[in-house]
């Protein structure tokens, strides 16, 4: 019984990480019809930002990095990765609208370059981020049911991010413009919305979210140049299942994929679990080709 409760928690934890990664993809896809294959490398940038901040902090203070730096790392990862995303959009993706397949290839190339850049700067071996003391250990709800603090904290951060995105999209004027462009680009443009600006900002926002995902992954996984690639394909599946750039669809899809992955893996093995999830998504698309939710566009 407790094992199953733990599994549900694990499923939720995996889902939230997937969600953070997939949200950025879904936003830029819904808006620009662009899929960014360098998204995994944005995650990696977020993770290395956290690492670099820790190194810098301990170099400045002379001692081990404080717990504050770890919290500062969250917005910093968002900003640094967002800035890189902005740069990529402005210098590359902008020229490839209307050619989404070409964007796939170009962003893949960007991903390769970023990966190699990380390897040149930080070296090929994995690096380590020391988590603050208060994040170690867990909350014991039973003899076998221990919820790790780190995962609880990640869930909390993801919830805050979700709230932030909701506010941005539905309560801010930038978000209103973004929704307008999503619904009808030409109309929005003729009414004076700068679609270019909206595109850049949205892409940067998506990249920034990936950066936060990278920060989260430093807590639970390895930090190396190819860190993002492990998660990004699952995130693509989430986007496909969720439907065109709809945030509710993406959230639902992330939870379905995350839960299915952990449940299948517990029942069988990790390999079979992944295969089953893929087959189920393909079959689901037979029934609902547009994914869980469809954005109405004109």
């Amino acid at each position: 019984m407790e094992v199953w409760a733990l599994q549900i928690f694990n499923g939720i934890s995996l889902s939230t990480i997937l969600l953070l990664i997939a949200l950025g993809l879904a936003l830029s896809f819904g808006l620009m019809n662009v899929i960014n294959l360098a998204h995994g490398e944005f995650i990696m940038i977020g993770a290395y930002t956290t690492y670099a901040l820790q190194i810098a902090a301990s170099a400045l203070t002379g001692g081990p990095s404080s717990e504050v730096t770890f919290l500062i790392a969250i917005p910093l990862a968002f900003i640094v990765t967002g800035a890189v995303g902005f740069l990529v959009e402005r210098s590359l993706i902008r020229f490839l609208y209307r050619r989404p397949l070409d964007t796939l290839l170009a962003t893949w190339g960007v991903g390769l370059i970023l990966q190699q850049l990380a390897r040149s700067i930080f070296g090929a071996p994995n690096v380590q981020v020391v988590a603050p003391q208060w994040l170690s250990g867990g909350v014991a709800l039973g003899s076998d049911l221990v919820l790790p603090m780190k995962r609880l904290f990640i869930i909390l951060v993801v919830l805050v991010c979700l709230a932030g995105i909701y506010w941005y999209m539905y309560r801010s004027s930038e978000g209103r413009r973004m929704r307008a462009v999503m619904q009808n680009r030409d109309m929005a443009s003729s009414l004076g919305v700068s679609t270019r600006r909206v595109d850049s900002l949205t892409f940067a926002l998506g990249a920034g979210l990936a950066g936060i995902a990278g920060w989260a992954l430093t807590l639970i996984g390895p930090i190396g140049p190819s860190l993002g690639t492990f998660y990004v394909v699952d995130a693509f599946i989430v986007v496909i299942l969720g439907g065109l750039g709809q945030i509710p669809g993406t959230i639902m899809a992330a939870f379905i994929i995350g839960m299915l992955n952990t449940i299948f893996e517990f029942g069988t093995t990790a390999v079979v679990g992944k295969v089953l999830v893929f087959v189920m998504v393909i079959l689901f698309l037979q029934w609902k080709p547009a994914g869980l939710m469809r954005l109405r566009t004109r």
């Binding site: 094992v3 733990l6 599994q7 694990n10 934890s13 995996l14 190699q116 390897r119 090929a124 071996p125 994995n126 690096v127 380590q128 981020v129 020391v130 170690s136 250990g137 867990g138 014991a140 076998d144 221990v146 790790p148 603090m149 780190k150 995962r151 992954l217 807590l219 639970i220 996984g221 390895p222 930090i223 190396g224 190819s226 690639t229 492990f230 998660y231 992955n261 952990t262 893996e265 517990f266 093995t269 990790a270 390999v271 992944k274």
Partner: protein, 425 residues
Amino acid sequence: MFKSLLSKISRGYGATLPALLLGVAMLAAIACGPSAAPSAGEKPSGSMAGGEVIKVGVLHSLSGTMSISETAVRDATLLAIEEINASGGVMGKKLQPVIEDGASDWPTFAEKARKLLQNDKVAVVFGCWTSASRKAVLPVFESNNGLLFYPVQYEGLETSPNIFYTGATTNQQIVPAVEYLLGQGKKRFFLLGSDYVFPRTSNLIINRQLEGSGLKAVGEEYTPLGHTEYSTVISKIKAAKPDVVFNTLNGDSNVAFFKQLKDAGITAKDLPVISVSVAEEEVRGIGPDNIAGHLVAWNYFQTTNTPENTKFVAAYKAKYGANRVTDDPIEAGYFGVYLWKMAVEKAGSTDVAKVKEAAKGIQFSAPGGPVTIHMSNQHTAKTVRIGMVRADGQINEVWNSGKPVSPDPYLDTYTWAKGIRNMVQ
């Protein structure tokens, strides 16, 4: 004149010209490209006497996922070559390394091995890490009669006439590790590995060994290579209530596993994990505080107390930086070059057949203690060591076999392993 030519070209029929030029250039590039670069400007020299240098190949992944581990081994091999050259070379000739990138891709390994043997005509190749890359180059070495020194512990059950194995085989790492744990009173083993050949074969052997003691593993779990989500596996481990986890995970997965294990509230005291693919280099990536107290089984630690090791660690750090660490495969990549040198000098030739004959029984004082090439199976006898990871990332030896253990890749000397040789041959 030039301008008119340009305008003619731009008008169109000139399109044929660049086409032809490109075609020719392309064929030329294929024809002479692949071998031109590394050996450019060098005097051609065969593997036999006559030239002033002896070419030796170094074949490791310098890009891709395996570069994490393999670049350090390449560095150690190059260090040994440099030392040998500084002290007069081999038979008075300098060694000239030809470095190739296997790119973590097995067909690429086969291609580069073929290039080293057929184009560069190297006398010997030091390289490979994964079993998959070794299996990929094995037919190349056998059909071209080349010589490979392979520096990594592996799953045994192989004796290629063209490969010298300087890493541990199963009876120098896994089997003694299980014996040690049984001696410590551990009965409930949980086997966890990445889904590929080494863990699968190791666990096959461990299962037989446990059966030999009347035991049975309480769980056996495999995850895809590069897997980083271990919460579910940890749930399974909790449910199985083992005394010890025998870990054959590879690379990155170890980082995720140990981090998440610690977060799940499982300490080394409650449940020790013994790893056979985690060395000092990997401990740094995992974070020493995440793995401190857990066990590892190897033939060498950076802390191994021999005069040779003090010298080796100092030389390695002096060349590559004080923050670098040494570990078992790095050490094996280092002393392999010396073993080959001794065999060549004894044979008086780099001829493969003569070197193989001369290599039998050759002994060298390696950083991890004396190593001896076996009289028939081309493996090396090495001392087995089990250690506990310290909070500073180094490893404390807690047990060793006292003397070098003779290699037994087919486990012929173990009664519980009866029939394993027949399985393969």
